[in-house]
Symmetry: C2
DNA sequence: GCCGGCATCAGCCAAATGGATGATTCCTGG
DNA sequence: CCAGGAATCATCCATTTGGCTGATGCCGGC
């Protein structure tokens, strides 16, 4: 019998997953968590074979950090990310964090059940359309922005001017422009609006 | 016995809602739909007392249009919107479309059950924090943008320059600037980035 | 029929933005 | 120790953007 821990901040979704998973008789849900912190604690006690985890967990740590912490446990559960969005940056981030797979919530229940079985068996499981996109992404890898650049990008997305960004970060406007120039180059754009757009598209922010 | 029709594009969520709703014995789920079109057809045949509907329904018509069509039926079901996001524009839009209420998916199951009962009884049901925000929004009502302005705003959010927008819409750059000036005034901003930001915040786009 | 809102266009001007180039400092990994 | 990336700052210049004012044609409601 494969044991599963559910992690999702929506009670309704947890109920749905439990119903779907326990419809067969090869899987059993041993626990539910609404937050990442709760998930880590529970996993430490329950030692589930597979953790089914949403990426967005409301307040508190996100699915990526939760995954990293879960994979550090001994024994480490397989972590299967099940979420609503398919931001490239998040998919990559999840895989790098040690997730066994990444499925979208709009798939059929049986796909989820199959995914859990394969994750428990040590397989990597990706939604078919994701797999091809991720592989394509490998060819032209997501630009690596530095922490500072991400920070600037966030202010940018909130509509801040260079002057405002400079003030909040306690640097010169020249510095902000310098960061922006780097961001523009890495994202291959030539305006702040477009930078915001691709950053949101790829899930960088 | 109050009858309920579920509308959500995620099978998992439908399972969860069904489990939650049928946990008591005063409500019964008479049908499930994955799209707005399907929901309208089913409601016409099943005559549910309450339709529980997500706003985002993947491809096809959205929850607002679905609500309008449902309210045009005879007898018209009460429509309760249950969704993940709380964009002001969407909440207002849903109410204007004739929805009996608007709940967020992260509420406790019992709140959903209560909401269904109250919607069936003809009440208006809003999540508490939403109610206050909507009332506040009434005081400074959401700016009314014209169709053309929304169109420009969308291009803006995709990062287009004035020149590009002008080309796409087959108008002069002067016209685009004119629309932008109006948009800026209505949104009370002074830069395209900030316009994009508040438009996304309020759910205008 | 007239008023008002909408979409369209124009010109002018100040400010913000973006591109190019280069310098300095700090830190980190060979 | 030294190469290289990161963050910081600077100057110069062309382009874009945003603010202002004003004009025209169209349509729908009163």
């Amino acid at each position: 019998m494969t044991t599963v821990l559910l992690v999702d901040d929506h009670p309704v979704v947890r109920s749905g997953l439990r119903a779907v998973i326990e419809a067969g008789d090869a899987l059993t849900v041993v626990g539910e968590a609404a937050t990442g912190e709760e998930a880590i604690t529970l996993a430490g006690h329950l030692h589930p074979d597979v953790v089914l985890c949403d990426l967005r967990l409301g307040s508190g740590i996100d699915g990526i950090r939760t995954t990293i912490a879960l994979r550090a446990l001994d024994p480490a559960p397989a972590v299967l990310i099940l979420t609503t969005f398919d931001r490239d940056a998040e998919v990559l981030g999840a895989i790098e964090a040690g997730a066994a797979g990444y499925l979208l919530k709009d798939v059929d229940p049986e796909v989820i059940v199959q995914g859990i079985h394969r994750a428990a068996a040590g397989d990597i499981v990706l939604a078919p359309d994701l797999a091809t996109r991720v592989l394509k992404g490998m060819r032209s890898p997501l630009p690596r922005l530095t922490d500072r650049e991400i920070e600037v990008l966030r202010h940018l997305a909130r509509g801040a001017t260079n002057k405002e960004i400079a003030r909040t970060l306690f640097v010169t406007e020249a510095t902000v422009k310098s960061h922006l120039a780097h961001i523009f180059t890495k994202l291959d754009v030539d305006s702040r609006s477009r930078a915001i757009h691709v950053a949101q598209e790829t899930g960088l922010i």
